[in-house]
Symmetry: C2
Subunit: 136 residues, 2 copies
DNA sequence: GTAACTGCAAAATATTTGCATCCTT
DNA sequence: AAGGATGCAAATATTTTGCAGTTAC
């Protein structure tokens, strides 16, 4: 378990909420919304602590956001290559319309997008929604 | 100007706010946020009317949402092929990090994404952010 | 011991709902 | 005239901020 590593590597002090929220991400093996963390019955985090923890993790490059069509933000663990301020999670996210699970499809390739003259890419998000393998 | 057409085609009564909000989308030639509409100094819409109008337009397939990384929802006019409940705006959206303008890149092709076994696609959103041609 | 983190309270902001009134057809 | 749309008030939900107390190092 490298949860402590992650925190130390990012110069974050090891606190209860940080450890437990990171564990939730590890177990979820998918993305979580603020509400998912808040509603986790076994833990009892303060709303504000969750907001601040997620924001800290995001600026440190530990998690990244996934925009969704219904205005809910999802968060997922970043891969190794992420570093502070420069996310490299250019993989595809799949959100199941039925069970609502979010998958990070790391190994699905996509051809890079050819933008018109004068446009420079910084970040690309690809969000596919539909039905996942479990819900068929 | 086919604004009246759009409303009539969708069995919506022609009201002031609907006409003016549609006009704003036509002029914007990009995407608008709820706040953009509300802050338009020349009009004075009630917050609630804007919420309801946008929602009506969306379910009718007149506009569609664009999810953004910062949890703000953008709305843009749909192309002809959109119909109620089934959006076909599978083009790429580009959001400029500098001026914040959102472009619908209709003519930028992208190869369809090959999902793993058991996954079915319903909707795909591709959001690229970076610097646009005007801000270079 | 000090700096950083948390929890509570409260402010600020965003969204939804109910209802009376007005407008479109 | 009837049904739908709007505006206002208020309820609800979400996010941010300040500060005092606590914890990690």
């Amino acid at each position: 378990m490298d949860i402590l590593d992650i925190l130390k590597r990012n110069n974050l002090s090891v606190t209860d909420s940080r450890k437990k929220i990171l564990e939730m991400f590890h177990h979820a093996d998918g993305a979580l919304a603020h509400a998912d963390i808040e509603k986790n019955s076994s833990e009892n985090f303060d709303r504000v602590t969750i907001y601040r923890t997620l924001q800290t993790f995001e600026t440190k490059g530990i998690i990244h956001t996934i925009p969704t069509a219904d205005n809910s933000i999802l968060y997922a663990l970043c891969k190794e290559e992420c570093s502070q301020g420069h996310h490299r999670d250019n993989h595809i996210h799949f959100i199941c319309d039925s069970c609502n699970t979010t998958y990070c499809l790391d190994h699905v390739p996509y051809s890079s997008i050819h933008l018109p003259e004068g446009f420079t890419e910084n970040r690309t998000d690809i969000i596919v929604s539909g039905i996942c393998h479990k819900c068929h």
